[in-house]
Symmetry: C2
Subunit: 348 residues, 2 copies
């Protein structure tokens, strides 16, 4: 066997990840151990992160970096990859910020010269707008996520994702917006991550309710520690079972029984609400007067008022009854800004 072929084969073997011993390789390639050592020197000289491991169960393995053997990529494929990176960056979908930068640089460095010129400026051709905040569904906390917070968030997501991929448990403590104190560290089995409205959510199994995954917003995770190995059970979970905001449906079911809010509204308005990512999961029923009755769970008056106001004429808050008067007063005050009833009659 050729030296070149042997070295390429070594590359291939090293790539597999398992550490290999010089003597084993020597047998395999029918050369002396010394030759293998010299080949390793050569590979290292080529810039490969070959790392020896001393001692009895030692061997050679690739360092933190794996090796990608020759592949042919046509320009469209390269553009697709770079485009994906640009998109990730624009939407701050960056579990591994360093990995993203490095991958982009390596990809660019390796492109045919003529294509590189244009692709280096790909970010000048392709722009992404951030997902706009939605006035009807505002966020509780500061909307201006600073650079540092974003970095911390992607650190959390990265670690969680790594754990999910390597099937190892994590212990995390969480700051729930509904509780005063931080939740204590609890051990979870990471299942996956979900990106929704400019934010990452961690999906995992808690021991108490196995099989019913819980979600944590990545920016509210306070602390993460490595946990034990994963149970071999629950092999095939698929986050797509949560998509379409199906998790929201379940949560709304619970809120609906705890804080039921009932609204009568015209059928046309109901159709619009049904298309909303949030109110689409409410319960819609035909009302007695030809209108639709929507039941949704909500504890805060202000949100309900905003919804009712948005719905406009023809919508009526049925429950909780004690908010009806308050809402009516508010609406009347809004109307009164335009003068008294008599004035209004003259105006129109």
């Amino acid at each position: 066997m050729n030296r070149l072929d042997r070295i390429l084969a070594l590359l291939h073997l090293l790539r597999q990840g398992r550490p290999v011993s010089a003597s084993g390789l020597a047998q395999r390639f029918e050369v002396s151990v010394r030759t293998i050592y010299r080949d390793m020197e050569t590979l290292a000289g080529m810039g490969l992160p070959v790392e020896p491991e001393m001692g009895r169960r030692g061997g050679f393995r690739l360092g933190p970096g794996y090796f990608l053997p020759p592949v042919t990529l046509d320009p469209e494929e390269a553009v697709s990859l770079l485009l994906g990176l640009a998109l990730s960056r624009a939407l701050r979908v960056l579990p591994f910020p360093d990995g993203t930068d490095m991958a982009e640089r390596k990809l660019l460095a390796v492109l045919p010269e003529e294509t590189r010129g244009t692709l280096e400026r790909a970010s000048r051709f392709i722009g992404f707008e951030r997902v706009p905040p939605d006035l009807l569904h505002p966020e509780r906390d500061d909307p201006q996520a600073g650079g540092q917070a974003a970095e911390e968030e992607s650190r959390v997501v990265g670690r969680f994702l790594r754990a999910a991929l390597s099937r190892s448990r994590l212990r995390l403590s969480y700051r729930s917006p509904y509780r005063r104190e931080a939740e204590p560290l609890r051990e979870i089995e990471p299942r996956g991550i979900v990106w929704d409205r400019d934010r990452w959510y961690l999906v995992g199994d808690v021991e108490v309710r196995a099989g019913e995954p819980r979600m944590w917003r990545a920016d509210r995770v306070l602390e993460m520690k490595s946990g034990g190995g994963m149970h071999p059970t629950a092999a095939d979970f698929d986050v797509s079972s949560l998509l379409g905001r199906r998790w929201l449906g379940k949560a709304m079911e619970r809120w609906r029984t705890e804080n039921p809010v009932r609204v009568a509204l015209p059928a046309a308005r109901a159709d619009v609400l049904r298309r909303d990512w949030y109110y689409g999961h409410a319960l819609f029923e035909d009302g007695p007067d030809g209108r639709t009755v929507m039941t949704v769970g909500e504890g805060e008056y202000e949100r309900v008022a905003a919804l009712l106001r948005w719905l406009g004429p023809g919508a009526e808050l049925l429950e909780p009854a004690e908010w009806r008067g308050r809402l009516a007063g508010e609406l009347r005050r809004m109307a009164d800004a335009y003068g008294s009833r008599e004035q209004a009659a003259r105006d129109s």
Copy 2:
């Protein structure tokens, strides 16, 4: 120079795309021509599509596929790339659907064995929610973009992007929502693409107003034809100059003079509006009564009413004056749904 090094260097040179002659290479590496031929044989033997070109201006070059020489990618980099592809797919950002699929397959094929297994199922770990529609800023047309329409859209975007990268003109006809008939084919210089709220927009220069790029929504493009070569002018345009919805700012300036709508509102509410992707581009001034006065362009009563209703108590429509009465009547009708004024007083 080593043989190995020389062969790797040859790889590098071939990658550049320009055909290279054996004699040139022989001079460059200070070896005989014969050696170069032998090296080429070796490379071909390694599976490289080296293709000779006979005749006077011949030379060696790579075949139909471009060649990507060895790169080291660590798992995080590979995951970042695959993540970008997954994101592209989830958000239907696919200028090159085939390239995307192929790149993913090639990337997976080349990963270390143990990582591949888990990453092949990466889509099961990582989910992306579509950008939710915004109730306050609804879309005119059908919100249910069918699979076929999405495909057509990515075809349009792909072709436009290719044209932008290769600096060649396009002729396109467009269906404007503001005009009854389709716009005729007009020649444009593609500048770039912008993704906003789940949609692609094409950015280009029209001859009539050079330097002031126009935007077209990709799903409203009716027809595209290749145009002539690009003018060498306007070399460095950058779509990022349009981001932050700056184009919207200019458009709103125009609408503001055409259909001015003035609203007085509490400072706290103004702060919230300023963060909105749309109303953030309105004109905000301090009013005489301590409230803020916002001026925005809008021709449709219903949109203005929705905004005023959303703003709630303390907000008042100042202009157009003729809508004040209508709005007041509407608000009063909403309030009256909860009983007469006397009843309301009893309730609260």
